[in-house]
C-alpha cells in the first residue's frame, strides 16, 4: 500500500469527521466534486451535510468559520489556493487571531492553504504565505514536509483550540509517498532532525526539505556531512533544536521557498545570531525565492525558487568560508 501526501490530508479529514461531530469542511468545490485537488474526495458522500460547497467568498467563508467556532464547532476551511487567502486575510488575522485574546472564547478553526509552486502555475497559484500569517499573534502556522506530518499535524490542527494555518505543499501532493499512515507523531512545535550531520546545519521546511535532503545526499558523496532540520511548524518555531544543531556544526544555511523579505529564513537567522552567535564559525546564510512574483514558465520558475542545485552551491560556499 502506498499513501501520498494528498491521501494523508484526505484521510486525516475523514478521521476528524468520523471522530468529532463538531468538525465540518467548508470551501469552494469541496462537496460532491471533492475539491480542486481531490483533498475531500468522497467525504461529502460519506459525511452528508458536513462537507459543504461555499460561494467564492473567502472573507465570508472565514467569517462563517469564526462564528461556527464560537458556537462550539471545529470547522476546516479549504482555501482553493493559498494565494486566494488574501481576500479572507482580514477575517483570519483580525477576527480569528484576536478572538481568544480579546474574549477568552477559543477559535478552533483550521485553514488549509494549498501552497507553493508547481510548474506552470504562475504568479497567483504558487505563493507561500506562511511568513505573513506567522507575523500575526494568535495563529499557529504548520508547514508539514512529510506524508506522516501531513496526516498527524492536520489531526492536531483540528484538535488545537486556536486558529491553525495549515500550509500543505501542492508539489508534495502526488510526489511524496509513504507506506502507511503513522500511529504516533511528534508534537507541533518540535523540529525534527531529518538527517544527522556534523559539518553544516541546513534548515528547511515544507517542499524545500526534500531539496535539502537531496543536497545532503549529494554532498555526502564529497565527504561532507550536512545536518538537515525540518522545522515542521514555523510558528511556533523550534529555536532550541536549530541552535542545538548549530552548536554541533558551527554553520547555518536556512532555505525557504517564500520571498526573502522578513520571512521565516530571516527569523531563523535572527534568532541564531541573537542567541547562538558564539556557536557560529561563519556568517549564517539563507536562500529564498527571488524577490519577484512567481514566474509562469518552467525555465524561469526553476531559477526563481531555491532548488537542490542552488542550495548545493550555497552550501559549498558556506563550507568554504
Amino acid at each position: 500500500m502506498s499513501i501520498t501526501y494528498l491521501d494523508a490530508i484526505r484521510e486525516a479529514q475523514a478521521r476528524a469527521l468520523q471522530e468529532d461531530p463538531r468538525v465540518f469542511i467548508y470551501g469552494q468545490d469541496v462537496g460532491s466534486f471533492g475539491g480542486a485537488f481531490k483533498a475531500t474526495k468522497n467525504l461529502a458522500q460519506t459525511f452528508p451535510g458536513r462537507v459543504i460547497d461555499s460561494p467564492i467568498s473567502e472573507d465570508a467563508m472565514l467569517g462563517l468559520a469564526v462564528g461556527a467556532a464560537i458556537q462550539g464547532m471545529r470547522p476546516i476551511i479549504e482555501i482553493q489556493f493559498a494565494d486566494f487567502s488574501t481576500p479572507g486575510f482580514n477575517q483570519i488575522v483580525n477576527q480569528a487571531a484576536t478572538l481568544h485574546w480579546r474574549t477568552r472564547v477559543p477559535c478552533p478553526i483550521t485553514v488549509r492553504l494549498p501552497c507553493g509552486g508547481t510548474s506552470g502555475s504562475g504568479p497567483f497559484h504558487s505563493q507561500s504565505m506562511e511568513a505573513i500569517y506567522a507575523h500575526y499573534p494568535g495563529l499557529v502556522v504548520m508547514t508539514p514536509a512529510t506524508v506522516e506530518d501531513a496526516y498527524s499535524m492536520l489531526l492536531e490542527a483540528v484538535a488545537i483550540d486556536d486558529p491553525v494555518i495549515f500550509c500543505e505543499h501542492k508539489y508534495l501532493y502526488y510526489h511524496l509517498k509513504a507506506e502507511r499512515l503513522p500511529d504516533e507523531a511528534m508534537p507541533t512545535g518540535k523540529a525534527r532532525i531529518a538527517r544527522p550531520g556534523r559539518d553544516m546545519t541546513l534548515v528547511a521546511y515544507s517542499a524545500m526539505l526534500h531539496e535539502a535532503l537531496a543536497v545532503a545526499e549529494e554532498l555526502a558523496s564529497e565527504g561532507t556531512e550536512i545536518e538537515v532540520v525540518d522545522l515542521r511548524s514555523v510558528k511556533p518555531l523550534d529555536t532550541d533544536t536549530v541552535i542545538a544543531s548549530v552548536a554541533r556544526t558551527g554553520r547555518l544555511l536556512c532555505v525557504g521557498e517564500a520571498w526573502p523579505w522578513g520571512g521565516v529564513t530571516a527569523e531563523v537567522i535572527a534568532r541564531v545570531a541573537t542567541e547562538g552567535f558564539a556557536l557560529l564559525d561563519a556568517p549564517p546564510q539563507r536562500l529564498n525565492a527571488k524577490d519577484t512574483p512567481v514566474p509562469y514558465h518552467p525555465n524561469l520558475w526553476a531559477v526563481h525558487r531555491p532548488t537542490a542545485r542552488s542550495i548545493a552551491a550555497a552550501a559549498r560556499r558556506l563550507l568554504r568560508s
Binding site: 460561494p55 465570508a60 462563517l64 458556537q71 482580514n90 481568544h100
Partner: protein, 347 residues
Amino acid sequence: MVHTLFNHHSVDEIASLRGLYTKAYRLMLLARILDEKFASLYRMGKIHGGVFLGRGQEALSVAVGLALRKGDIFAPLIRDTAGRLAFGEPVLDAVRTYLGSPLGPMRARDGNVHRGRPREGLLVMISHLGAMIAVVNGALFANRMKGIKGTVGAACIGDGGTSTGAFHEAVNQAAVEKLPLVLIVADNHYAYSTPTERQFACASLVDKVAGYGIEGKAVDGTDLGACLEVLGEAVSRARDGAGPQMIVARLLRLCGHGEHDDASYVDPALKNSPLGRDCLKVAEAYLLAHGWADGGALAAWREEAAQQVETCVAKVQREPGPDPYKEDWCALASKHLSEGYEPASGQ
C-alpha cells in the same frame, strides 16, 4: 405603524403594545443617559481612546435588541448602546470596557464599543466594517448543524458599511444558505463625513435587496413604533424560516462620528427635515399623547436611569486599572504553543 394598530386593536393588544413601547422607551432613555455619561467622561479625560454615541439611532437599535431573545445571536455596531441593553448587556459591561477595568468582559485588552459576551450570543465587533455579518452567519450555520431550531441572528451596519466587500459576500452567503439572518442597516446619511451620494448610486439601499434574493423593508428610524413593528416582523419571519431579512432605517446621526468629531459637515437641511427628529423626543411625545405616561413618570424614569448609570460609573472608577505585569501576554488558547510565552512574575 403603532398608531394605526392602536386604532384597530383590542384592549389586550393595546396593553401589550403599551408595555413594549414603554419598555423600549426606558431602554432608549438609559442608553442616551449612558452615552451622555461616556461623552462627559471623555471630555474630562477619563476615557482612553474614542467614544461613539448612538444619539438619534436609539429607536432602531432598541427595536433590534427587543425583537431578539435568549439563544439568538446579536452583532451590534458602534451606535447600538440601546440594542445591547435591550439584548441584556449589563450596564456594568459597557462602563468597565469604556473605563478599561480588568474586571470587564474585555479585561482592558479591548475598549469602548468592542465588547460583548460571545458565549451568550453577544458578539464582539472588530473595527472592519461588514466583517461581523459572516460571523453571525457562522453561528447560525453551526446552530443548524447542531439541530438547534428557532434562533435568529441580527447584524447591524451603517450606510458606509454596505460598500464593503465583506458586506456583499456575507449577505450573499446568508441568502445562499437561507440563514435566519436579520440585517439592519442604519442609513444615517454619513459614513464619518462622507455623504451617501459618495457611498452608493441606487435610490435607496432597499433596492439592493432584490439582487441578493432576500426580503427587505424600509422603516422610518425616528419612529419607535414603526421600528418595533418592522423589526418584530422581520425577526419573526426569519425565525419562521423565511430566510434572510434586510431592514433599512432612514435616520440621522445626531452627533459626530465619535466625540472627537463636531459633525460640522452635516447638511442643515437634513437636520431640519423629519429625518433630523430626535427619536427619543418623538417617543416621549407619543407616550404623553396616548396617556401612557405623564411628565412625572418620565422624570422618575430619567432619574432612575441616571442613578443606575452613576452607580455603575462610581463602582468602576474605584476598580484598579490593568497591571501589565500580571498580563500573560499570550495570544493563544494553547499556551504550550505560544512563542516567547513567559509566565507572569510571581506565578
